[in-house]
């Protein structure tokens, strides 16, 4: 049961409650080591009080989501920026 994690893909459902676009396809830059990659490629720990997504490079926390009965808490402090692909304006 060592390293019992899933891919960032598994965040797609919980984040679809909050965002109208698919955040898992966005690129994120890790505040810890600067690694850039899709949210879908983060390591997600789901056996926990919330969802914890870590950088596959340095294992720092990039994103956290906690769902309470009446709210969602989203912590993005471990990511410098999100690049969200959009249709040309």
């Amino acid at each position: 049961m060592i390293d019992d994690y899933e891919d960032g893909n598994a965040l797609a459902g919980p984040l679809s409650e909050i965002f109208t676009f698919d955040v898992t396809t966005a690129d994120t830059r890790c505040a810890g080591c600067g690694r850039t990659g899709p949210v879908a490629g983060l390591r997600v720990y789901t056996h926990a009080p919330g969802l914890v997504a870590r950088c596959p490079g340095c294992e720092e926390v990039v994103l956290r989501v906690v769902r309470t009965p009446t709210a969602a808490w989203l912590d993005l402090r471990g990511s410098v920026a999100l690049r969200i692909p959009l249709a040309p304006a």
Binding site: D3, V52, A71, W73, D75
Partner: protein, 199 residues
């Protein structure tokens, strides 16, 4: 409440015991983890209490084991809604560890190998309510359950019982820890169902 799926009960058993509101009984011991499991060799393990004035008190693994141990049997309640009754532990009471620590602090921030933190009032660590536990069910505490040693504060939700405990910082002000900064309650009393901020 969602649409009921007929005949679905989940893994829960044993009705009839008194549990905190919203909790269900479990027989096994689910492993919760918010990150990779740190592997700390006992010879590298250290436990540090830092007071509000910056004074440090340090124990090595040997020094911890040389302190008088206790064998509490307690019920534990995880905020993910399982409760496990009558768990038996061995460890050193925080009363013993903090006996010679000179402090007037009101709060504690517990920190762990791997970066986890959790906060609670200092008084909840005292008076026979909390231990640094290194054995569970007669065996050395397994890494996935927080070994070599974890905090055990069973009267609060189990996320306060930090696995892989490394130290405690005593402070005048409360400072939220890992889950407490992401919506979870600063105190976390299961009998008052203090799961989330504002409960």
């Amino acid at each position: 409440m969602g649409i009921v799926s007929p005949g679905f009960h989940g893994r829960r058993r044993g009705a009839g015991v008194k549990l905190p509101p919203g909790q269900y009984l479990t027989e096994d011991f689910p492993v919760l983890s918010a990150g990779p499991t740190p592997r700390i060799r006992p010879e590298d393990w250290e436990f540090t209490v830092t007071t509000e004035t910056g004074q440090e008190h340090r124990w090595s693994w040997r020094e911890l084991l040389d302190l008088p141990g206790e064998t509490p049997t307690v019920d534990i309640h995880c905020v993910t809604k399982w409760s496990k009754l009558g768990t038996s532990w061995e460890g050193v009471s925080l009363d013993t560890l903090l006996a010679d620590v000179d402090t007037a602090a009101d709060y504690a921030l517990v920190h762990s190998y791997g970066g986890y933190t959790t906060n609670l009032p200092l008084e909840d660590l005292l008076d026979g309510q909390a231990w640094i536990a290194y054995r569970f069910d007669g065996e050395d505490l397994a890494p996935e359950h927080g070994g070599p040693a974890r905090l055990l504060v069973p009267h609060l939700y189990f996320w306060k019982s930090a696995k892989w405990v490394r130290g405690i910082r005593l402070m005048d002000e409360d400072e939220p820890g890992f889950w407490e900064t992401a919506g979870y309650h600063d105190y976390g009393d299961p009998w008052r169902e203090q799961r989330y901020q504002g409960d």
